[in-house]
């Protein structure tokens, strides 16, 4: 057990737990934040993506100990932002959502990508999504959604 301090969705947070506990379990089981999903449990699929210091991280392979002092944002908090509104509208309009299980992770990947590169090329978008698997769509509508978001949200990133 150890006392781990970090910022979670804007709030100072202290967790007294085994530092090897997966961040994903901390979020889902201790905090009740179920937007991040477990698709593979080994850092392959990206369904568990969260923003750590505004960079995309697979929370299923990040031990709680590594969260100490970091700023963590999940889909629950990101969905309150203006950037989210633009991204979510773009996903809806592009028809990018099928079963939805990968989508919160995809939204986090989209934010992480656009934050670094507000006007990505198609290749850069595909690269930026390569850590997030989707089995339903064949990705083209997701790529389209990100292109739409980048275009409509010009100036937001």
């Amino acid at each position: 057990m150890a006392e781990i301090r970090f910022i979670l969705n804007g709030a100072e947070t202290v967790v007294n737990e085994d530092p090897t506990m997966r961040l994903l379990d901390v979020l889902r089981d201790l905090m009740g934040l179920t937007g991040a999903k477990e698709g593979c449990g080994e850092g392959e699929c990206g369904a568990c993506s969260v923003l750590v210091d505004h960079d995309i991280v697979n929370s299923c392979i990040m031990p709680l100990g590594n969260a100490a002092g970091r700023d963590i944002m999940t889909i629950e908090e990101f969905s309150k932002t203006e950037r989210y509104n633009v991204i979510s509208r773009a996903y809806e309009d592009a028809g990018a959502v099928q079963c939805g299980f990968c989508i919160p992770g995809m939204i986090i990947a989209t934010e992480s990508l656009l934050n670094k590169n507000p006007h990505p090329s198609e290749i850069e978008i595909r690269d930026g999504l390569s850590g997030n698997l989707c089995r339903c769509t064949g990705y083209n509508m997701i790529v389209k959604a990100i292109q739409l978001a980048a275009e409509r949200g010009d100036g937001l990133w």
Binding site: I87, S88, G95, R135, Y139, N140
Partner: protein, 696 residues
């Protein structure tokens, strides 16, 4: 609504994007126990003894002795136990559940259970036939007797794993003499019927509720019945909610997959170069239990002549039992194996007889009025001629195939033609499913669709609401479709077999017409419709004769590749497809189905390797079992034709499976064109291409 096909926002997208949609893994109930499964480590063995650790307070073991009814999962063929009883037939077969408040502790209990096995010789390969079917059309035997030239081919296909992003999961509950199963599923009534039988109880004592389902592709057709029964038995024993969620490795190793197959052809060449007679033999590996493999075999066999009319046909097939993880439903249901085989074979036949493959294929292409493989009739207009031309024009197929066929060119292009029978095979809808749907109008004039079909990403919720709203002439916001709950909705059948829009949507459209006639504002009205098979459909279930399907969807797929001459890696360069699904109820949803399905079909043909050695699955996680990433996929150009089917709602036929079916043969033919070597198995991986290039 001017044109039904015009896309609208999907009903379920907003919650999914925000992460607010609750999947089964997100659900937490008071006093809930976590369950895990103890599994066989032998492919075939007798269980001599099981030694349990001392159980801490509040932890339970649940096994076959706790089953009040039949220890059998109610699938089509009743051979799979809910929990192993004294013997195991595959590695990973469930023996018992351990359940308790802390997952970590449950895992410790599972790890400390000692099972003593007496292993015996397992069966692998195509040796133990457990189901056999055959049918004839014309008189193939006498054509073969006189044939001057017989061309042969043998094709094999590997496993395919669904990799729905959400692993399998259910929660079982027991309250007031009623057992409830909530979970990720395609077929609530399959689970209900299975649980009723396993608990040995009445229909009124079991309730099944679908949770948001994170992808299925057939993988959540029959498999969740097993987990549902286990969770139900555990909930009844403990009196507490039981949550049974698979981890990915467990899901990959122990759930159903697409059947590996071998398909052999012999064709008698006529003097004019046509295929006068075709003999087809199908081998399917069912794994340890038959389940629905016999039906998968039938669908594969019925597709034996592909989209071609061949007058003399002799088809036989067997399901072989092996001591491996049971195989089951997967988008396409036997057709992807057969279409890979027949599309390759007709090409190889043409090349061996010195003909242009495209010309031979066009010559045999089925037309309206032709007899089907099983002696039924293609009753509706077939517009494949137009579709093929469109695909050729879009892709530049003619010029490319000429150029890429030159020696030393590493590029290739391939085209596949497919059909997919919509709905259950034969009289399945009429005899077995007997679908019922209801519409209920409330006093506030909101209309709820009461049907058991599930949204699993394919857009059922939006599409079915759109049909009802369109017929009623009311805004779509006035139509409600909730995740099915068997206490609230009638059995409209499973969400499988490309039947949801054509069959269930058709019933909803009929119910909506009935409601429209009876419509009185401010009054509660309930209407019901039941499935009626068109009178002209005749099907002999034993002999496999007659109209196997009421309607067919059609597709043309073109794939262009470049194969590295150094690493033999295959890069996709272009993908084009043209589909006739009658009428798109929502064009963007259909394009989504097309792109996702075709992508799965192409990677089935070139990427997705799963092997089983001595009964053990070798690719145990998503690092080993590769599905395409965004970087592996490329834009697709897809055209949806308008060819309304008179009995479908707004003219719609089935669409969910069709795009997958043609992916593998299109990419395999493209690779074949690129490397100039004959491909007779999938996936066509770089290793296999290297083998072909280096060994001739």
């Amino acid at each position: 609504m001017s044109d039904i096909s015009k896309s609208i926002p999907k009903s379920d997208s907003a919650g999914k994007i925000a992460g607010e949609t609750i999947y089964i893994g997100d659900m937490v109930l008071d006093d809930m126990l976590h369950a895990m499964t103890l599994r066989s480590v032998h492919a075939k063995a007798r269980i001599k003894s099981i030694r349990l650790p001392e159980m801490p307070e509040g932890y339970f073991i649940v096994d076959h002795r706790d089953i009040p009814g039949d220890n059998c999962v109610n699938i089509i063929f009743d051979d799979m136990p809910v929990f192993a009883d004294g013997k195991v037939n595959y590695i990973g077969e469930p023996i018992l559940l351990a359940a308790g408040p802390k997952r970590k502790k449950v895992k410790e209990i599972i790890d400390s259970i000692e099972v003593e096995y007496e292993p015996s010789e397992p069966v692998f390969g195509y040796s133990k036939s457990v189901v056999h079917h055959e049918f004839e059309k014309g008189d193939a035997a006498s054509v073969f007797c006189k044939a001057e030239r017989i061309i042969k081919g043998s094709y094999s296909t590997g496993y395919q794993e669904h990799i729905y992003m959400e692993p399998q999961g259910v929660i079982g509950l027991y309250e007031d003499n009623k057992t409830t199963v909530i979970g990720s599923m395609q077929c609530p009534y399959y689970i209900k019927n299975a649980v009723v039988r396993t608990l040995g109880t009445g229909q009124e004592n079991v309730r099944v509720i679908q949770a948001a389902t994170g992808g299925a592709f057939g993988g959540k057709e029959e498999f969740p019945s097993l987990m549902g029964c286990q969770a139900a038995v555990a909930a009844n024993k403990t009196g507490k909610p039981i949550k049974l969620i698979y981890e990915r490795t467990e899901d990959i190793e122990t759930t159903t997959k697409r059947h590996p197959s071998r398909i052999d052809f012999e064709a008698a060449a006529g003097e004019d170069g046509s295929i006068e007679a075709l003999r087809v033999r199908v081998f399917l590996d069912s794994g340890a239990y038959i389940g629905l493999s016999g039906v998968v075999l039938q669908r594969a066999m019925i597709a034996a002549s592909g989209v071609y009319t061949i007058s003399n046909l002799s088809v036989s097939g067997d399901v072989y039992e092996t001591n491996t993880v049971p195989n089951g439903a997967f988008r396409g249901f036997g057709a992807p194996q057969m279409f890979f085989a027949i599309e390759m074979f007709i090409h190889h036949f043409a090349i061996e007889t010195g003909q242009d493959p495209l010309a031979l294929r066009k010559r045999h292409l089925a037309s309206m009025g032709d007899p089907t493989s099983t002696g039924g009739t293609f009753r509706d207009p077939i517009i494949m001629g137009d579709m093929i031309q469109k695909a050729i024009d879009m892709s530049g197929y003619d010029e490319k195939i000429a150029e890429y066929s030159k020696p030393g060119d590493h590029r290739g292009i391939g085209m596949s033609w497919v059909l997919h029978g919509c709905g259950f095979t034969g009289s399945g809808e009429q005899k077995h499913i007997k679908a019922v749907v209801r519409l209920r109008k409330e006093k506030d004039d909101m209309v709820t669709i009461l049907a058991a079909n599930t949204e699993m990403g394919q857009g059922a919720m939006t599409t079915l609401r759109k049909i009802a709203a369109g017929v009623l002439g009311i805004p779509i916001e006035k139509v409600i479709y909730n995740n099915p709950d068997t206490d609230l909705v009638p059995d409209s059948g499973p969400t499988v077999a490309s039947r949801t829009v054509m069959i269930v949507g058709g019933l909803i459209a009929r119910a909506a017409r009935q409601l429209k006639e009876k419509w009185v504002p401010g009054k509660e009205i309930l209407v019901e419709e039941r499935y009626r098979q068109p009178d002209y459909i005749e099907w002999d279930e034993d002999k496999l004769r007659g109209d196997a399907y009421p309607a067919y969807s059609w597709g043309v797929n073109v794939v262009e590749v470049e194969v590295s001459p150094v690493t033999y890696e295959v890069d996709l360069k272009g993908i084009w497809a043209v589909y006739d699904i009658g009428k798109a109820i929502d064009e963007r949803i259909i394009i989504g189905q097309a792109e996702g399905g075709l992508s799965q079909g192409i990677s089935y043909g070139m990427t997705e390797v799963m092997e089983c050695r001595e009964g053990r699955i070798q690719q145990r996680n998503m690092t080993d079992y590769i599905i395409p990433t965004a970087g592996d996929c490329i834009p697709m150009e897809i055209v949806i034709m308008d060819n309304p089917y008179p009995l479908g709602p707004y003219g719609a036929k089935g669409a969910g499976e069709l795009p997958l079916v043609g992916g593998a043969p299109a990419v395999a033919l493209a690779i074949e064109n690129a490397i100039g070597k004959r491909i007779d198995r999938i996936p066509a991986t770089p290793e296999y291409i290297m083998e072909l290039m280096e060994n001739g």
